[in-house]
Amino acid sequence: MALPNKVLPGFSATLYCQPTATPTPLTTANLSVYASVSPIVITGNLIPVEAIPAFGQDDAMANFNVAGSRQSDKIPTQAAPTSMTITAAWNPADTNLLLIRGDAYSGTVDRTFVISASDGTGIVNYAFNGRVGQFTVDPNPTAEAKCTFTIHPRGNQYGWSNNA
C-alpha cells in the first residue's frame, strides 16, 4: 500500500506490544499488513514510555581469527537491527510493563511490537518482532520511579504499513 504522500506535521509516536504471556508473533509477511498489525494498536496494549528511541538498523561485521595469523579478517555482513533501550514510569500494576518484565526474565519470548506514528488522520505503523533483554527499576527517591528495558529486534522480522 502506498505511504501517505505528505510530511506528518508534528506527529506522535506510540509503542504497543502484543498481549498475553505466551504470544504468537506475526510472521514476516504479516508485519507489513495493516489489517494484521492494527489489532495490536489499541489502548490496552500501550506501553507507557517516556520517549520512543531511535529505531532501524546499523552496520554489522563478523570477525574471523586464524590461529598464528598476524591479522584477523573483518567481513561486512547484513545490517543488524538496532536494539532499543526504553525508559518508562514504573507502575507495578501496569499489565504491559509486567509482561515486559516477564519477557526479560525469560529471554526467549518473541513478541510483536508496534511503533505507531500518527498526525491524527494518517497512521504509519512500524511492526517488528523482538525479545526483551534487560529490565531494571530505578527507585531514586528524588524522582518518580522509572523502569528501563531493552528490546532486541529479531533480524529481518519487521514491516511497515499504513492506513492511507
Binding site: 489489517a35 529479531r154 514491516g159
Partner: protein
C-alpha cells in the same frame, strides 16, 4: 513449485522474505497475474511482491509489436 505452496511458505515464515523467495522456483507470469489480482493489504500480496522481485516478468509479446511498428505512432 506451485505458486500456492510458495505463498503459503512465505506467509508463514519468520525468515527474510527476499532470502526465502530466492529458493522458491515459480512461474514469473503466474506471479505477475496473481499480484495484479491480489489485495494490497494482505499477507499474500507481500509474499507475491517478494516472489516478483526475484522472478521478474516481462511481456515480450508487447515489446515485439512496438519494435516492428513502422507507423511511428
Amino acid at each position: 513449485m506451485k505458486l500456492s505452496e510458495a505463498i503459503e511458505l512465505l506467509t508463514s515464515t519468520y525468515q527474510s522474505l527476499d532470502a526465502a523467495a530466492l529458493g522458491l522456483p515459480v512461474d514469473a507470469k503466474e506471479v505477475a497475474d496473481a499480484l495484479a489480482k491480489a489485495n494490497p493489504d494482505s499477507a499474500e500480496y507481500v509474499a507475491l511482491q517478494a516472489l516478483a522481485k526475484v522472478n521478474p516478468y516481462e511481456n515480450t509479446k508487447k515489446e515485439k509489436v512496438i519494435q516492428n511498428d513502422d507507423t511511428n505512432k
